[in-house]
């Protein structure tokens, strides 16, 4: 699937007009210089050969060199990706919690004024351009109230948080640390969800794997720290500023990065919550009419217990599926949000690079976005199979 997308982008970018070499020199170079650069970039070969080279590189984990400034695309994407990930996770949390809460409330008062108000709210959030909401929030909280910053990721003068450990060839090694840690993080969160719904066996297995990932990541981390103790100080971290600050035990830095994170993720979260409201509302409404809910009510359980511990657990599965599906939308919205809030993530990188016809950078970003989407949908599918025994049959 990713390959089809990649191929499409590859062909379209090259067939349609626009030349990275010309953009690089701003049309001022002699034809000889341009030809030389073309050869250097491999643009003189036929398209199929370029494609072949690129795919071979891809399998080795090499995303190629930027056609704009010759720097490694993989490295650039790598440094931009955590920002997007942080934003995406936070907004998804906001979207789901707001959406589920309002959806449950809405379903409780089905077809009453409260329900209508919530529904209209959901529809309105869907119709708001994400950057407009971002601007309004910037206006209110940033310009008028001066509560929150309007852009960027960390305050001026503050270094990005994290453990400052010495490391010379940072990016290559960082990969060994970040990848296992991230995988561990994801698995750990899957574990938490699994534990919540009492799938003990599955949960334990996932926990074990995630611990292994964490251990591998941290072992590398510690090893590197000892090894490079005497050389230059280079920054190394997961790239998730909030997580980093906590890891470093720096509460002040945590607060600051949270402050910067709040508005963008609130923007994105609110825009996405409409669909969760709708979904939760209809599912909860159907679940609340089932017999076991009536039985729970008859036993005199508290309203909240019945709603969240009995009914919602059954209505949650479609919400989970939707989370996977919404992830693509979320990433799309993230591009605009990042642009609005000058958030230095992958979306911003992509937009910047597109203007220069930087083929390799765009392809790289598309590949990473595609990978991200597929990993999330795979994770959701797996989770779904474990949560819903009917699928496994």
């Amino acid at each position: 699937m990713i390959f089809i997308l990649l191929t499409t982008v590859f062909v379209v970018m090259r067939v349609l007009p626009g030349d990275p070499v010309q953009m690089h020199f701003e049309k001022m170079a002699s034809p000889e210089t341009m030809l030389q650069m073309r050869i250097q970039l491999g643009l003189d070969k036929p398209i199929w050969a370029q494609y072949f080279d690129y795919v071979v590189g891809l399998f080795r984990g090499d995303l190629g060199k930027s056609m704009q400034d010759y720097s490694s695309v993989g490295q650039q994407i790598f440094s931009a990706f955590p920002a997007t990930l942080e934003l995406a996770i936070c907004s998804m949390i906001i979207a789901v919690s707001v959406g589920v809460f309002l959806g449950v409330e809405s379903s409780k008062s089905y077809n009453k004024p409260k329900d209508h108000v919530i529904r209209v709210f959901g529809i309105v959030t869907y119709a708001i351009p994400v950057f407009f909401l971002g601007m309004i929030l910037q206006m209110i909280f940033g310009v008028w109230l001066h509560w929150l910053p309007t852009g960027g990721r960390i305050g001026p003068g503050l270094t990005p948080p994290g453990l400052n450990i010495p490391l010379s060839a940072s990016s290559g090694f960082a990969a060994y640390f970040i990848a296992p840690s991230l995988a561990g993080l994801v698995l750990a969160s899957i574990y938490l969800v699994a534990a919540k719904v009492k799938h003990k066996k599955f949960g334990r297995r996932v926990l074990a794997i995630s611990l292994v990932f964490f251990a591998v990541g941290w072992a590398f981390f510690a090893g590197l720290g000892l090894y490079f103790m005497s050389s230059n100080r280079v920054h190394l971290s997961t790239g998730l500023f909030t997580v980093d600050s906590l890891l470093a035990g720096n509460l002040f830095s945590f607060g600051v990065s949270l402050k910067y994170l709040l508005l963008p993720s609130l923007t994105l979260g609110l825009v996405l919550c409409g669909i969760f409201i709708r979904l939760t509302r209809s599912n909860m409404f159907e679940t609340m009419r089932l017999d076991f809910v009536t039985a729970a009510k008859a036993r005199g359980l508290r309203d909240r217990t019945v709603t969240y511990r009995y009914a919602f657990r059954n209505a949650f599965l479609p919400v989970l599926t939707m989370m996977g599906l919404q992830f693509a939308l979320l990433l799309g919205g993230a591009v605009l949000t990042e642009y609005t809030f000058s958030w230095p993530g992958l979306g911003r990188y992509l937009v910047d690079r597109i203007n220069f016809r930087d083929y390799t950078a765009i392809q790289g970003a598309v590949v990473v976005f595609g990978l991200f989407v597929s990993i999330v949908s795979l994770a959701v599918d797996l989770l779904y199979a474990y949560l819903d025994p009917r699928i496994r049959l």
């Binding site: 699937m1 990713i2 089809i4 997308l5 499409t8 982008v9 379209v12 970018m13 349609l16 007009p17 626009g18 089905y110 077809n111 209508h116 529809i123 309105v124 869907y126 119709a127 708001i128 351009p129 994400v130 950057f131 407009f132 601007m135 309004i136 910037q138 206006m139 940033g142 310009v143 008028w144 309007t150 209809s282 409404f285 159907e286 009419r289 693509a328 939308l329 990433l331 799309g332 919205g333 591009v335 605009l336 642009y339 609005t340 979306g347 992509l350 937009v351 597109i354 203007n355 765009i362 970003a365 598309v366 976005f369 595609g370 989407v373 597929s374 949908s377």
Partner: protein, 299 residues
């Protein structure tokens, strides 16, 4: 009231049984009508804008630059002293054009392709489904940005870039329905009397998928408007010789730190209203056509 009725009967023509459904389902029917009124209002306003605007929306220094809303300029003026009210009234044209063209393109490509592919089945269907699914799964705006850049500026190009993103949603909806419809006895009967494929697709299958296409198209309108606004915001919009909400919003975002809220608030509000109109229609229509929740309401 009269307009409401004509809207209803128009919709009733498109979707059989719509009128009765609207009567039975209170809120959904109201949503559709309200949405239709809202979009109708904005379209009429845009069409009549040459006669409605108090000032020429493009002429600069009508008032003092960045005047806050007052009695002379109800919505204030922008950085070049242009009257915001006039710009808001006239600014919908570009977006509506983009949306209409892109929906038309989507219909022209998505519907025949969906019908053809799903009716043919086999490798052809697999091939198209795979392509459509991969586009569908990918963040839409990113694809639209990429296409908008390679296609260049202009209303039609922007519409095309947006259409690329939304063709898959038509394709998927049509495909899922055709797969079950083509097994129905009456289609089989048509097959057995030797009806041509064109005839089967057009006369027997298309009318059955038309309601869902209507829903998708309405939602598509809203999405196209939002995507167009997003593209303009990133700087891929139409060259700024026409008043355009998206453009005003983008320009206004630079003035935001100085607290000139009126420059962004009103164009943004108009975009929301327009998108909201279509979303409400889509929401209402899909609820009318989806009987899943109906039971619950009648209880």
């Amino acid at each position: 009231m009269k307009e409401t009725k004509t809207k209803k009967s128009m919709l009733a023509k498109i979707i059989p049984g719509f009128g009765s459904l609207a009567k039975r389902r209170g809120l959904a029917g109201k949503l559709v009508i309200f949405g239709a009124l809202l979009t109708g209002f904005i379209i009429v306003m845009t069409l009549l804008s040459p006669w409605l605007v108090p000032y020429n929306p493009s002429s600069i220094n009508v008032g003092k630059p960045l005047t806050a809303p007052n009695s002379q300029f109800p919505l204030g003026t922008d950085l070049l002293g242009r009257d915001m009210l006039s710009r808001v009234i006239a600014g919908g044209g570009v977006m509506l054009q983009v949306a209409i063209v892109s929906v038309a393109v989507c219909l022209a490509i998505g519907v025949p392709l969906g019908l053809f592919s799903s009716h043919t089945g086999g490798v052809v269907d697999k091939f198209f489904s795979l392509i459509m699914d991969s586009i569908y799964a990918f963040p839409g705006i990113i694809l639209a940005i990429a296409f908008a850049i390679v296609l260049g500026r202009g209303v039609v190009n922007m519409a095309l870039a947006i259409a690329v993103v939304y063709v898959p949603s038509y394709f998927r909806v049509i495909r899922s329905q055709v797969l079950s419809i083509k097994e129905l006895p009456y289609v089989e009967a048509a097959n057995s009397i030797g009806a041509k494929r064109r005839t089967i697709l057009r006369r027997y299958i298309l009318p059955n998928v038309l309601p869902s296409i209507t829903v998708v198209a309405t939602v598509n309108f809203a999405d196209a408007i939002l995507t167009a606004a997003g593209l303009t915001f990133i700087g891929l919009g139409i060259p700024p010789n026409l008043p355009d909400w998206g453009y005003d919003l983008t320009k206004g975002s630079q003035l935001l730190p100085s607290g000139n809220w009126w420059v962004i608030a009103f164009p943004g509000l108009m975009i929301i209203l327009l998108a909201l109109g279509f979303t409400l229609m889509g929401e209402g229509l899909s609820e009318l056509l989806n009987p899943r929740l109906e039971q619950g309401v009648e209880k």
